[in-house]
Symmetry: C2
Subunit: 543 residues, 2 copies
């Protein structure tokens, strides 16, 4: 068993990302939070990793050795740090749990296989021995995707796909790259950049999340208007399951029955472990330009981004903050809370263009004409400011939690005709649920992904923390989820189901949809060891 | 029970489409076929519908009355003509079976429910009574999708969705139309045209196939470069199954688990019956222009259409015939076989533009520049000729079968880097399989659907008929399917699996993929009554 923690621990154990990147909160923002929300009592993370308690491991030693035998000594870790690093995702409840001082559930063992065959062998052994397996990519889940219900099992193993890395094939004619699912966003981009290509997939978790995670959770990046969603880019995949291997994808599209790729995409480690991905790539853009545009109102801005999504021209990045988010400058985290001097009111849109010089020039000129016609006015500097801060928001959350604020995000998607009702209804539900607890919140929202038929809505919520902040948030989240379900929207556009969304996911697909998913799960994972309780309620009586 | 045959029998019982549209074969073409292929003995369809024999019905009378009770007297038919009209699709083996003179298997009863609830009740009753159910749309399957293996059942009912029609809702803001699955292409277009919209879905079967069929078989239309595939347009659907109802689709895209819409799309009536479809629509185009362009070779043309698919501009229609198809003028059926005077050699591409005047002007100008740069030369008149004949090919096949030719088509899709190998390999396999039978064929091919990562290849085969033409074709088709599978391509890009492709489909998704599909089937259709043997091999021991 390796003595050292699993390599490359770039993600801080105490919060988001690289501790060196953390920044203190602007004093102006803190003042606003204190004044408007009553945020007060700081709630820090323990100052040393050793002071975070973990539930003791319970996996039988002989079994641990059996599993170690499959992946080799380099691939197995049971030290405190590695266990902690695989215990939680990065939702606010996860981060609050770190601060709670009570022992955290954590995997007994972390395995890092380095081949499809090793993954298959681990799954088969764990299936035979009734050991729960949590597939682990970048650890960036914000929906409890790494918190299985493992009580009924002989133990819990985290299966870290980090060593399944590399660019294995680049088919330039078909513009396809076959990549290891353990590559983080920047690693994959670096490998492709050497050959002149990009995936164009830049979600907020880009710096830490893995390709396998993007696929397993149907991630959508900030440049989705131009590059599409990650699931759209998956042309072929190899998946290891306790029942064997699935090899899917022989053509961009097919009429050979249901598209089984679409059954594994979004399966969140509950049906199998993705061990190889063949992804659509594009030539790396020569030019990247981001601009700000201002609309008088969210309704006017929404109409404009809808028009672009439906009739073009189609920029690469297309986002629209609502009035509240615009006022707080959340779309420009480097200037967050910089106050009314910087705020001209209305709603800010970020519009970006990536591609060849010619393509950017053409689409940008057409978009400029269209936006002016749709009532937008330029917001100079806002595009660069957004670009500079585009991966900063999770750092801010850590600082806000430290300061005693309750801060979390949630998202949904719906058809265009419901966008206004969902925008209002979800905010109202959250506001009511927190106000009734004595902590009236600040609620900000934006449209970050657009389609001809609809859009996503992303909400950021801030309030003062109560003594039991996890329960405080759960109540608000349940109210939001209830509103989303009642309004006919989907419970998640790009975060996934995890454990947090299971009841609403099951309502969304209906009793028969759940039965279908359970039958698929029983076929691929008869012992129910894969991420039990994630995506689907844990099976009462696994085989 | 209704005395009259089921209404609207526009499709000829003896072959394709409207008998009034049938046209005699050009003498020049006949001469070519006689000379090149040795086509000789005419093999006509029986001259009267009464002379076509059907296997006698075997459904218990009491059971028939029970089912009639669900749909009402107007919705049940057991007359000879209606049974015959629901007995077969429109593959060449289907049409040859009509000519064979032996009794044809046919449903015992044809039911035409007029509501989701009636469909549900029919399925539940048939499940309880072990009666096989064949969902029936336009009857245009070319892969044996209407020929179930029903031996193990108490009888066979065709469930005709024709009465599930109508435009139920038009959400102009989201550009979504909720339509009945029983609408044929032109009926749906007429309803939408009244409101200024189009589906833009124009496959060769457009005039007769239904929306439900398009969805259940993942149809792709001739304008797929611009409007996308039909499955891409399905935003929500309602499906009746023996186990209950599925309601799927709350947003254009979601991360709420696997996309279950993609599990029902392509399910070919084997998992359920689609009773409602919510589809993406577009404003009806003001302008439609189709042009011909000529390339020196198929390789050069393929490189050009790939470049457009990957880097744009993207026309609405983009097709490329190979040298053989170009020489025979198959892309322009009204001038078919018009001979060498009309043929400048090389390969003909059809490029079409649909949209607003401004959009067409812009994209057309850009495409013209790009095509010239890619080595193409204008082929004046070819676009209009293609447009005039775009739905004519199936009529031609009837005439060719009458004349004693064996004529059939098949299709596949693959990634771009395999297009050349698949084009050559499939043609070689077909040529060998027919030559060895003493009937060397003519083989024509085109690319009809393009994606950034790959394309479809569509083959047309003609040879002299032997005494057992069905067996003769099955041998060629098996060789082609084997080549497709070995070359890593998909067994079907837009025709579906039916009964014809089952062995290769099962190979394509692998043993575990088949197990997944069977588990889904057992959940939705525990008695295995839905289209037994279509999509999946019939279950040996249904519940």
């Amino acid at each position: 068993m390796a003595d050292e923690p699993l390599s490359e621990p770039e993600m801080s154990w105490r919060g988001w990302g690289d501790p060196a990147q953390a920044a203190p909160l602007p004093e102006t923002l803190l003042a606003q939070l204190r004044g408007a929300l009553g945020v007060g009592r700081p709630r820090p993370v323990p100052d040393s990793i050793d002071r975070v308690q973990l539930v003791p491991p319970r996996l039988d030693r002989r079994l641990a050795l059996e599993l170690a035998g499959i992946v080799g000594a380099d691939g197995v870790h049971a030290d405190h740090e590695t266990r902690l690093r695989h215990a939680l995702g990065r939702s606010t409840p996860d981060l609050l749990a770190l601060r709670a001082g009570t022992p955290l559930p954590a995997p007994d063992l972390v395995l890092a296989p380095d081949s499809h065959e090793q993954v298959l062998a681990v799954l088969q052994r764990c299936s035979a021995r009734r050991v729960a397996v949590v597939p682990f990519g970048g650890g960036t889940s914000v929906v409890g995707g790494l918190s299985p219900e493992a009580g009924a099992f002989a133990g819990v193993v985290a299966l870290d796909v980090r060593r399944l890395d590399g660019l294995h094939e680049l088919d330039e004619e078909s513009r396809l790259a076959t990549l290891g699912p353990g590559l983080r966003g920047p690693e994959a981009e670096a490998l492709l950049a050497e050959r002149g290509y990009t995936l164009g997939h830049f979600p907020q978790s880009f710096e830490y999340a893995t390709l396998g995670g993007f696929a397993a959770t149907r991630s959508s990046g900030q440049a989705s208007a131009g590059y599409g969603r990650f699931d759209d880019q998956v042309m072929a995949m190899r998946v290891a399951t306790p029942a064997g291997t699935l090899e899917l994808g022989r053509a961009p599209r097919s009429a050979a029955g249901p598209d089984l790729r679409q059954l594994l995409l979004g399966s969140e480690g509950a049906l199998g472990v993705i061990t190889s991905l063949t992804l659509a790539v594009r030539p790396a853009p020569a030019v990247r330009v981001y601009e700000g545009w201002r609309f008088a109102s969210f309704a006017e801005g929404a109409r404009a981004v809808r028009t672009l999504a439906q009739d073009g021209p189609r920029p690469t990045v297309l986002r629209l903050s609502d009035e509240a988010e615009t006022a707080l400058n959340l779309a420009r985290p480097t200037q967050l809370g910089s106050g009314p001097d910087d705020v001209a009111g209305g709603c800010l849109a970020i519009v970006g263009f990536e591609g060849t010089e010619h393509a950017v020039r053409t689409v940008r000129a057409e978009t400029t004409r269209a936006l002016a016609h749709l009532g937008a006015a330029p917001a100079p500097g806002a595009g660069d400011s957004w670009s500079a801060g585009r991966y900063r928001a999770p750092y801010l959350r850590d600082a806000l939690l430290d300061a005693g604020a309750l801060v979390e995000t949630l998202e949904t998607a719906c058809f265009w005709s419901s966008v206004e009702a969902v925008h209002a209804g979800v905010a109202d539900a959250i506001r009511d649920a927190l106000t009734v607890q004595g902590t009236p919140p600040m609620i900000l929202a934006h449209i970050s992904h657009v389609y001809p038929a609809g859009a996503s809505l992303y909400f950021t919520v801030a309030a003062a923390q109560l003594d039991e902040p996890i329960a405080q948030w759960r109540a608000a989240k349940a109210a939001a989820s209830e509103a989303i379900a009642s309004l006919g929207a989907t419970i998640t556009h790009h975060h996934g189901v995890g454990t947090d969304h299971v009841p609403w996911y099951e309502r969304e697909i209906g009793e028969l949809g759940v039965a279908v998913m359970q039958s698929v799960k029983r076929t691929l994972d008869p012992a129910g060891i894969l991420n039990p309780g994630v995506l689907l309620a844990a099976m009462p009586n696994p085989a």
